[in-house]
């Protein structure tokens, strides 16, 4: 058993010191009926080679994104992550460290988190950010709960352009957490009027930009309207690379920005782990969920970093905490910070520009395909098309041709005729001209 260093001699010697006749005797407090006399009914131990083979056999049954023309987005995006990022996050001192509760020997993690918080604040155009959340979707519901606390109201207004999973999560928490949700219809046409729906009960308006269908919108008026009614504006961003090209939510008046940070630093990983970004205004800092890293000095007066304002947290406040979360996405946050440090100002801008160029060119190419209507005026690297057939069928047909064409809106918004033929398509810096041509050709064939 390669991970277990005790030898039989060790065990015997240790039991003698303890004064116990056997290891089993140490389990005497467990009710006898529940004490098993031997291993459960599962396979016995296996070496690396064997485990590798078993898992690789499963992995090989999947189509990896890098092996085919790939246009799937809708909340997770396929980007190129520089090799040094993955090397650095695997360094044992980062990978195998715990939450930095002992700051004297965790300045590495802590300084990274301080850099992360600064990066997120800059990207989103907000004052302050926390040290990350599980992912964008859970950050979103935390933002709604925070808005409820701040406004002491309990009605959240969700845009129909919000990612359906994000909306479902808020609805689940509302149902069991005692608040109300008003949700718009799927806003694929970009015509939604949220301002009219804000009232004196509204704690927050939650919009996504670019929205689930890829559309961009200026949120300035919405922010003003929300503020006029005493509500907060929460902006969700699922493609954080977009912030290298478009006006940040903070400049449009957002009170809380939540984002999925996966695009920077993390792979697709079939949906997780990702990293949730959470930023707000200075005045709301003490209502924020999640960890915060702050600057301070040590006993010698040197600058150092610690986790701070933990009086908001569950391990101190118990049932009065702002959230029950006690883990962040430290390693993904580290990957985010390193990747964004490599990009820097010029790299991020250029990356965003490449993404937009790819999507823009793809939209132009698709516009010429019979049976495809591009529903796009303003977008970043993702847009929606209306097909002449149900999108789910088309996607399945293209998958059979080893083209991953995008996400049928119906997968996330079922039982809604209006979205049945809608396909959400993403392009990134990884998308080649050959990929685009394959999609065009594939669609022509399938829609013919």
């Amino acid at each position: 058993m390669r991970y277990l260093p005790l030898t039989e001699v060790d065990r015997r010697d240790m039991l003698a010191v303890i004064g116990a006749p056997s290891v089993e005797a140490l389990f005497k407090d467990v009710p006898a009926a529940a004490r098993r006399t031997g291993p459960v009914d599962l396979p016995m131990h296996a070496g690396e080679l064997e485990v590798h083979r078993q898992l690789a056999a499963m992995a090989d049954k999947n189509i990896a994104g890098g092996t085919v023309p790939f246009f799937v987005g809708a909340g997770a995006y396929r980007h190129h992550v520089p090799s040094s990022v993955d090397y650095l996050i695997q360094r044992g001192e980062f990978l195998t460290a715990y939450t930095p509760y002992q700051p004297e020997i965790a300045q590495g993690t802590l300084q990274v988190l301080f850099e992360f918080q600064t990066q997120v604040a800059l990207l989103t155009g907000m004052d302050v950010a926390n040290a990350s959340m599980y992912d964008g979707s859970t950050a979103c519901v935390e933002a709604v709960q925070m808005a409820n606390r701040v406004t002491r109201r309990t009605k959240a207004l969700l845009s129909g352009g919000l990612h359906p999973h994000y909306a479902e999560i808020v609805e689940t928490h509302a149902k069991y957490g005692g608040f109300t949700v008003v949700k718009g219809a799927p806003d694929f046409a970009g015509t939604e009027d949220l301002i009219a729906q804000i009232d004196g009960e509204t704690s927050c308006v939650v919009v996504q930009n670019p929205n689930f269908f890829g559309r961009l919108r200026d949120l300035t008026k919405l922010a003003e309207a929300a503020h006029a009614k005493g509500a907060l504006l929460i902006v969700a961003v699922t493609e954080v690379v977009s912030l290298g090209a478009i006006t940040p939510p903070g400049e449009m008046g957002a009170d809380i920005v939540v984002a999925e940070g996966q695009s920077i630093g993390s792979g697709l990983n079939f949906g997780g782990p990702y990293v949730g970004l959470f930023a707000t205004k200075d005045k709301y800092v003490r209502q924020m969920p999640g960890r915060l890293c702050g600057e301070t000095v040590d006993a010698d007066g040197k600058r150092g970093f610690v986790l701070t304002l933990s009086t908001r947290e569950q391990h101190i406040r118990r049932e009065k905490a702002t959230s029950n979360i006690c883990t962040n996405a430290g390693l993904c946050a580290l990957a985010f910070t390193i990747h964004l440090s490599l990009l820097g100002e010029d790299g991020l801008t250029q990356l965003a520009s490449l993404n937009h160029a790819a999507a823009s060119r793809l939209a132009d190419k698709l516009a010429g395909v019979k049976g495809v209507e591009v529903l796009a005026d303003a977008f970043f690297n993702e847009f929606t098309v209306k097909l002449s057939k149900p999108a789910a069928e088309v996607v399945e047909a293209l998958a059979a041709k080893k083209i991953l064409a995008g996400v049928p809106a119906s997968r996330l918004i079922p039982n809604d005729k209006s979205v049945e033929n809608l396909l959400v398509i993403a392009a990134t810096e990884c998308t080649t001209d050959a990929d685009m041509d394959a999609l065009v050709a594939g669609l022509k064939e399938v829609l013919a």
């Binding site: 485990v51 957490g177 006006t247 029950n324 490449l354």
Partner: protein, 491 residues
């Protein structure tokens, strides 16, 4: 050498990536193009690599040395697991790819679920929770959903032992339960009589950690389970300490209704300086129907994902997280399980408990243990042995840092004065334990010999000495600002 912030190292015109020029295209940003800059610093790749290498050198991880952090189960993180999670067939697949193109991924989830169910003796598991606390939420929501389905939504009181993790009461409160604490006995267990006295028609559940946070097994657990069930409530078990019993004792055999499993504790997915975690929740028959979306099921030899509350999943209580859960952690945990197998896991809990008892037995004479052994996978000490020395639990723990160790957990559980909670885990060898025991012994003796000042000054050999946490909280500086920006902000 000090390591400046990246913002203090950056220069305009430098970049750590080479990206080609964007091809010709029509901009379609609808007037939302960013006007100002972002304000990010420019660094070349060598600088970035060196910066984060040097920061890592200021960290302590399991790979650096012994990390006996009680309640946190810091065990060896095998690199095989990292490698497996990076196979393109796992790492480079999108959660919304057609289900036909991710059959292997779903098979992995299904296999992991099978292992979790078998190890816990429970019929169902919800895979999506992102971490332990998220799993708690999942379990408690499932209980709430079950109560509502039974028309007993009025049951809102949740019993939580005083020694519980802070997340237990926090979780209960988030979804509108009220928390009612149960006192502990002198033996460090739930006071059974007090518990029974609190039962009533408004009780929704008990949340119990077992082995508990004192490192002790709740011997009355079957009685507790029976009593809560009889009273119409559910038994939530906090699985944080599952490592003590994995492979030997199945929570399902103890009457548990739901339990979250910290994959990053019991099954060694790396903690990564704060996450990511993964907290699947096993559920009893009584709760299984309410498990959140998505559900992975096998039908006619093909895996399917139920993503809506329809059909078989019609009672699902909703959704807790986008997509399918922490897949990357699933791969690592399954690799760990396959590596150990049923026989290895049996040994895991045995060695974990043996190691803890060895530490307890070896130090009982110079430190003070509040409870009689045997303990489970953690050895708990209180601060009576430091009485009158002028050395606090904190000082004692900090002194360990200079000796090359990560401190144990301090001041938790709250029910013990000045608690020191040591969890060696099964991946440490006897040589390491003996050195550690020798160090603790010598520190205890030095404390008693009047070396308080030395302890107050510890640690001395670290990149930073004790940090001023009060200052940090009083005047929060939570981000870097360009010189001058702070002044502006202060206006």
């Amino acid at each position: 050498l000090e390591e400046k912030l990246i913002f203090e190292q950056g220069e305009a015109g430098r970049c750590g990536v080479d990206l080609p020029a964007a091809p010709k295209h029509t901009a379609k940003l609808g007037g939302l193009a960013r006007k100002g800059g972002v304000g990010l610093p420019g660094l070349a790749e060598p600088q970035v690599v060196r910066h984060y290498t040097r920061l890592s050198q200021k960290n302590y991880g399991i790979d650096s040395g012994f990390f006996p952090l009680g309640s946190c189960t810091m065990k060896h993180n095998p690199r095989l697991n990292e490698r497996m999670a990076r196979l393109p067939g796992f790492g480079d697949i999108h959660p919304l790819q057609p289900v036909s193109t991710v059959q292997g991924a779903l098979e992995l989830i299904d296999t992991l679920a099978h292992w979790l169910k078998t190890l816990t003796g429970m019929p169902a598991v919800a895979m999506s929770p992102a971490a332990g606390a998220h799993g708690e939420l999942c379990g408690m929501v499932a209980i709430k959903a079950a109560l509502e389905a039974r028309g007993e939504g009025h049951r809102t009181r949740v019993l939580v032992p005083e020694s519980a993790h802070g997340t237990n009461p926090a979780t209960a409160a988030v979804i509108g339960f009220t928390v009612d604490p149960i006192p502990a006995t002198e033996a460090g267990r739930v006071d059974l009589a007090a518990f029974k006295a609190k039962l009533g028609p408004d009780v929704a559940a008990i949340m119990l950690t077992n082995p508990n946070t004192c490192g002790l097994f709740e011997g009355d657990i079957r009685e507790i389970a029976d009593a809560i069930h009889e009273a119409g409530g559910y038994f939530y078990c906090d699985g944080a300490n599952f490592n003590a019993i994995v492979g030997r004792v199945r929570p399902g055999d103890l009457g548990v209704d739901c339990m979250h499993i910290n994959l990053h504790k019991t099954f060694s997915t790396p903690h990564g300086g704060g996450g990511p975690g993964s907290g699947p929740v096993v559920l009893s028959e009584r709760l299984a129907a309410y498990a959140p979306l998505p559900w992975t099921i096998l039908k006619d030899g093909k895996f399917q994902v139920l993503e809506q509350a329809e059909g078989e999943a019609k009672a699902a209580f909703g959704r807790l997280k986008a997509f399918h859960g922490q897949m990357g952690m699933f791969v690592r945990a399954l690799a760990y399980m396959l590596s150990h197998g049923a026989d290895g896991l049996w040994q895991v809990s045995g060695d974990a408990v043996l190691n803890a008892n060895y530490i307890l037995a070896s130090l009982k004479d110079v430190m003070t243990a509040p409870f009689e052994g045997p303990c489970m996978h953690e050895a708990l000490f209180d601060d009576r042995f430091l009485e009158g020395t002028g050395v606090s639990t904190l000082d004692f723990a900090k002194a360990l840092i200079d000796e090359g160790y990560h401190p144990m957990t301090m001041y938790f559980p709250l029910v013990v004065h000045g608690a020191l909670l040591v969890e060696p885990t099964e991946t440490e060898d006897k040589q390491t334990l003996d050195l550690f025991i020798g160090t603790l012994r010598s520190l205890a003796e030095r404390a008693k010999a009047g070396a308080a000042e030395e302890f107050h000054a510890a640690p001395r050999l670290t990149p930073r000495r004790r940090l001023d946490e009060t200052l940090a909280a009083r005047k929060p500086v939570l981000r870097w600002k360009r010189a001058g920006d702070n002044a502006m902000a202060a206006e």
